[in-house]
């Protein structure tokens, strides 16, 4: 039976500073390829990457395509980042083996779902295992709860990945924080 929609947040706003901070860090670390599946939480950052002539943005049909893209970019001398929702992490698990086996540096930004007042309870099973899953896949993980921490954490993640360690780094953006820039119902 249909139920009336309950507004998800009374504080919803559409713009924040942190997506442009992430973009600036990408530039500082010479990230040239960004792969993503369209996502409301990453929308501003995606838009910045699309309009940047030095970044090739690649829209994927599934996050599972992402690790292959990162490996290919790396073989061609370019650094790549991936943007996805927590649900997308589950789509990638086997493909992450490429990055481990070949020691390919990579930064993944994950907007969390199913962890804080999500309107869709079906997001909870994957959202609740996203961070341990990434760790099991060999990623260093960082979690950001506050907007003022984003720039530092993304920069630290890029340094760990691209600073010679050839590590795989995932930065989880808390749903409570990301939801503030989403329109209601997303």
């Amino acid at each position: 039976m249909a139920q009336p929609e309950v507004p998800s947040s009374s504080h919803a706003r559409k713009h924040a500073v942190w997506p442009s901070q992430i973009h600036a860090v990408f530039k500082r670390y010479s990230i040239n390829q960004v792969g993503y599946v369209p996502d409301t939480g990453h929308a501003q950052l995606i838009s910045l990457c699309q309009s940047d002539n030095e970044i090739t943005d690649v829209v994927l049909t599934s996050e599972a395509e992402g690790a292959g893209l990162v490996l290919g970019a790396s073989l061609g001398g370019q650094r790549a980042a991936l943007l996805m929702q927590s649900s997308g992490v589950g789509n990638c698990i086997n493909t992450f083996s490429l990055l481990r086996n070949c020691a390919i540096p990579c930064v993944i930004l994950v907007t969390m779902r199913g962890e804080f007042a999500d309107f869709n309870p079906w997001q909870v099973p994957m959202g609740s295992i996203t961070e341990p899953t990434l760790k099991l896949c060999g990623f260093l993980t960082y979690r950001v709860e506050r907007e003022e921490d984003i720039e530092d954490v993304v920069a630290a993640g890029c340094k760990m990945a691209f600073g010679g360690g050839n590590l795989q780094v995932a930065i989880l953006l808390a749903q409570r924080m990301v939801d503030r820039i989403k329109p209601e119902g997303h």
């Binding site: 049909t61 893209l69 290919g72 073989l75 083996s97």
Partner: protein
Amino acid sequence: MFDRRPFVAGLLVERGDLLVVTGLGSSTYDVAACGDHPLNFYLWSAMGTTAMVGLGLALARPDRRVAVITGDGDTLMGLGSLATIGVKQPDNLSIVVLDNRHYSATGMQPTHTAAGIDLAGTAESCRFRRVERVTELSRAAEMRKLLHTGQGPVFIHAQVEADDQKRIMPSRDGYAISRRFMQASGK
């Protein structure tokens, strides 16, 4: 239908600085059977992602030609990536699918192409600029030329015989083959 080994050998003759990415299983063995090469990158895991490795590489190296040589099983597992390639339209990327209609690595069970699923038609739907359906070994030289000069994205669908040939094993050290590839390609 024809033997896959002489076809792949024909594609790779006088290969120059062609960058080659191979799908795990038979296509890796086929390419290795032509002789190991520092500009070969062999995938040993993540079935379904070979075409995407080719795309990432082609986008990073617009100055070079990239050939993905893989099988029908790998291509079926990553069908969405054909659409992703169609959207990006890399003019330096070719995908060669050696379609034997079977999973040779696991005991020759039929793939969906054995039931008539048409990968070349899929590539056309995904806006590959050039799609070739190859049923004769005699076209290998023509296809080789396409890898080097064809306006991509190119899709070569090779209908090869369903057999399980001798496994020629190149290195499985991902770190070694990736760094060797980067150094040999000047990155």
